[in-house]
């Protein structure tokens, strides 16, 4: 995928070129903690160059997946590869971490170090450390160099964690709930910093989130994970194109029988109105609606939130 001089996620999507490789690939990945299955055969492919939102409810298996990819946790079964390297082998895991910038959900850094110490410490592990970016982000985020990490607010800690990830010269950024616990203004600042960064750097971002708006705002591709499995994935624009809401109004109460047309994801009845969430070709559903003598038929696009709620079985 190639991208240049973009300033928003919309233009990222437009500039998508077919990915030539998977930067992250998992197959039948399983993880069990004390008898509890956190991952139940997770299959995931993240194309190189994408901004990939890993969307799911709390406890869906997002953090576990990230930890396995980084070698921080061990898979019970299945295969996990990053840059084509086996994430479970200690030596290749080290190589993977050399090429990744990671921000954990807790943004847990060394509380006893100052901002300056933390930056110097991290820089020593990464030969491709970007001093130019370090100076830029220290200024941009207004991080006080001599303040101890324990004295930083959560927002400041998030910004520092992001700086430490962005300056590594990484090919892949892995972010676990990057804006969790932040107020909307700082969350927006963090997201804008990410968007600004990838506009100028050739890299892939893989971030987990349970906030649909966040994925909608910056991702060009997404996977929705639920109960340890990927239940839906693809380019966001394709998903939006694929799903439609069809609203039918009848003269009397909406018919109570099941609709037989293929592609019906969900049906909701309310008095004279029958609302169908469809996936794929809408024509068979429209034909059936006409056959049922619907007074009016209205087809409209759906939001990512509706798609998410449908796929994870939530209530609208």
């Amino acid at each position: 995928m190639k991208r240049s001089g973009v300033s928003s996620k919309r233009s990222f999507a437009q500039e998508v070129v077919v990915a030539d490789s998977w930067i992250i690939e998992t197959a039948a990945l399983r993880k069990t903690y004390d008898g509890v299955e956190a991952l139940r055969g997770l299959d995931l492919q993240v194309p190189s160059g994408s901004i990939y939102g890993f969307l799911g409810r709390n406890g869906a298996g997002k953090t576990t997946t990230l930890k396995i990819l980084l070698g921080i946790a061990h898979a019970t079964a299945g295969d996990a590869r990053v840059f084509g390297l086996d994430a479970s082998a200690p030596r290749s895991s080290e190589e993977i971490r050399r090429r990744i910038g990671f921000v954990s959900e807790e943004k847990d850094l060394y509380r006893f170090m100052t901002v300056e110490d933390m930056v110097r410490f991290t820089a020593r592990f990464f030969p491709r450390w970007r001093s130019d970016l370090e100076q830029r982000y220290l200024r941009k985020f207004e991080l006080p160099r001599d303040r101890r990490i324990r004295a930083l607010s959560r927002g400041m800690r998030t910004k520092l964690a992001l700086l430490l990830a962005l300056c590594r010269g990484a090919e892949l950024l892995m972010l676990d709930e990057p804006t969790s616990g932040l107020d909307p203004a700082i969350a927006e600042e963090v997201l804008q910093a990410l968007i600004g960064h990838v506009a100028n750097e050739e890299m892939t971002i893989f971030f987990s989130s349970h906030q649909i708006a966040e994925v909608d705002q910056i991702a060009d591709r997404t996977a929705i994970v639920d109960l340890g499995r990927v239940v839906l994935d693809g380019a966001l624009d394709d998903l939006r194109e694929d799903f439609r809401r069809i609203r039918m109004v009848f003269e009397g109460d909406a018919p109570s029988g099941d609709l037989r047309a293929p592609g019906i994801a969900r049906v909701q009845r309310k008095g004279r109105v029958l609302t169908v969430l469809s996936r794929g070709d809408t024509n068979p559903i429209l034909d059936e609606a006409r056959a049922l003598d619907a007074l009016s038929i209205d087809v409209s696009p759906v939001t990512l939130k509706e798609i998410f709620l449908e796929t994870v079985g939530g209530e609208e």
Binding site: K67, I72, H74, R97, S104, Y110, L164
Partner: protein
């Protein structure tokens, strides 16, 4: 840079230990003239093991070398070195000071993380075993006595090797438990348990505490090889266990 991080994580425990041991060593030397004056007042009629220990300590204190051994090497240094070996060993491999996930996301192996942490702790333990003890030959002329540097070094070597067993035990436990208190309490319980066994059964050859104090060296000029080798072997086994444990652990 992992060295630097390990140092920052453990420095307060180390520096507090060093300061306390320096004070204790200086006090041991400074109090000798007073101890000599009080020797005639030691009761001779206290029975049992405790009475025997008191009489033995009083008898040993009649010579300066005996006083330093019983007061410093067998008591103050031994107890505090055991405590600080455990405190240094439990100073969070990947848990207490925060940043465990950050450390694990760096391009270094867990073996290297643990190795650096162990080496830093052992270096600090080495300093705790040697530096305060070297203060004794230095200060002894102030009370009109002298103490051999060579004697001090031999006792420090014994103390360091035997105490490293407690350090490695604490390190192993800190790779098993993620909270800071369990490793500390278990290691302290083991230390008390060994002291109790030593007191009740009067362990000789394989007593870790007798090895730490260099008792056989003090009494008959023989190094406690059996206990030192056993301590070193146990320390190595604990370290190997810690490496294996950390490699398998999920965070």
């Amino acid at each position: 840079m992992l060295w630097y991080k390990s140092w920052l994580e453990t420095r307060w425990r180390f520096l507090i230990g060093l300061a306390l041991l320096f004070c204790s060593a200086a006090a041991s030397v400074a109090m000798y003239p007073e101890v000599v004056k009080l020797l005639p007042l030691v009761p001779q009629d206290v029975g049992g093991e405790i009475g025997r220990k008191i009489r033995e300590a009083a008898e040993l204190s009649r010579s300066y070398r005996g006083y330093i051994w019983t007061n410093w090497f067998r008591q103050n240094l031994l107890q505090m070195a055991t405590l600080f070996a455990i405190l240094l060993g439990t100073a969070g491999v990947l848990s207490q000071s925060g940043g465990a996930l950050f450390t694990l996301s760096l391009p270094v192996s867990r073996h290297r993380i643990l190795g650096t942490r162990a080496a830093t702790g052992l270096a600090e333990l080495f300093a705790l075993a040697f530096l305060p003890t070297l203060l004794i030959p230095l200060l002894s002329p102030a009370v009109g006595e002298s103490y051999s540097v060579a004697q001090a070094l031999v006792h420090s070597v014994c103390l360091f090797i035997a105490a490293s067993m407690f350090f490695m035990l604490a390190l192993l436990l800190s790779t098993i438990f993620s909270d800071p208190w369990s490793p500390l309490l278990i290691a302290l319980a083991v230390a008390f348990g060994l002291a109790f066994l030593d007191f009740v059964f009067r362990l000789e050859t394989f007593s870790v505490y007798r090895a730490m104090s260099g008792e056989t060296w003090f009494r008959n000029g023989r190094l406690p090889w059996e206990a030192l080798l056993t301590s070193a072997a146990l320390a190595s086994a604990f370290y190997a266990g810690a490496v294996r444990n950390l490699a398998r652990r999920d965070f």
